[in-house]
Amino acid sequence: MHNHRHSLECILPEHMLEQIATKGSDAQKQMAMDNISVVYQLRAERAMRASLADLFAPTMPRAADGGKERIIYDVKRGASLPGTAVRREGDPASADVAVNEAYDGSGITYDLYKEVYGRNSINNNAMRLDSSVHYRTGYDNAFWDGKQMVYGDGDENLPAEDRLFNRFTIAIDIIGHELTHGVTQFEAKLVYSQQPGALNEHMSDVFGSLVKQYQSRQTTTEADWIIGAGLFTPNVNGVGIRTMKAPGSAYDDPVLGKDPQPAHMKDYVNTPSDNGGVHINSGIPNHAFYRVAMEIGGYAWEKAGMIWYVTLRDKLGENSNFQQCADLSHQAAGELFGSGSLEQQAVKNGWSGVGITIGGETPEPKGCLEATLRFLGAA
């Protein structure tokens, strides 16, 4: 593992908070003091979360036949997980479209990992794939809770003209995205904050997109590289939640605002929100992967996907940053396809295209102090 000086853990650094707490106005002092305690709490929480996978590992349900086993549960708009089992492995299709989407999507995700990467489920030990649909009311989200996937129905509780989101099983890459959070939990264990958190999101977007491409047998030029296509209702001006091809251009809407993703390190976003912008800065490695896959060509899951899978499985650690991901994916490409191979050259070029030089030192993103002060209301 490479060791770089800058971990970029610059969200609310204590020295800055302490300076504000000492020299700021009364209101700023109070806010800084409040935030210092939050920083300490978050740090303890991160350490705790890093050991989540180990905690869960012994209790994960295993597929009965040691292969693919799915169970889809209906939470019936409640919050108590997992809910009632409504479709098990091998059962005929349900009348409920969300149930079928969760079943089919988790099945294709299992197939991609098994058939292409030789991985037997999320933990590579035949973990059963549990999914719950119809979670809560008006819940416009999907998440991986450490043990299973959970999907909301979007804005089903609002009048049609106010709805922005459809059900979250509607796009198969969302299902692949959530399952990949599970894979990351068992492999690199990337901490869900700052650059490691953005890499965690990035890996989920990469394999989510590859699941979709694998399902339709699309080549790199046939793929749309959009994450969450079909999730927005027609009320939203946008093609999806994110785009790996052109981060920052997925939506531009009077209600939701504009897609905030950068495609280059020069536009890296420093923010205390969203665990340090994990869903924002993932645009940078997402675009790097897109460039790598386009340069290699063919089916992205075969070569580019294999390089990224090996990087996730064998190379990255819980605190890896973008520079390390670039260096380690370059190393993986060399091991898989040969030093100086076209594939390894594509990896180098892909990262270069987003402002990261293999073996170099990524410049410290600017604007950390400004972001901190803005968060504290001091600037």
Partner: protein, 106 residues
Amino acid sequence: MDVERIKFERTGGFAGIRLAADFDVSDLPDDLSQTLRELLDALDFPELPAKLTGNESVPDSFTYIITVEAGKWHHTVITGDAPEDKNMQELLELLNRLARKKIKKH
């Protein structure tokens, strides 16, 4: 409880789209402001810790920041996506809905 303003922010989630709103409670319809006050009372909001435990964020889950103001007094609570307290669940659902309506007007 006595409450004049509520600031609400939701971040994270699969979509990573921030939702935020700032309500003057007196601008809300009477039934909604009454429900809000009842939920805050039931939660004993002023006594809640700044960060609720047992709600640590998991991949793609939401994080909520709720600030309640009355005169010069204010209290901020950060909570995760799946609070066990039914009143907090209701409060989050109500604030989500209000925030969506608020955005719609602008």
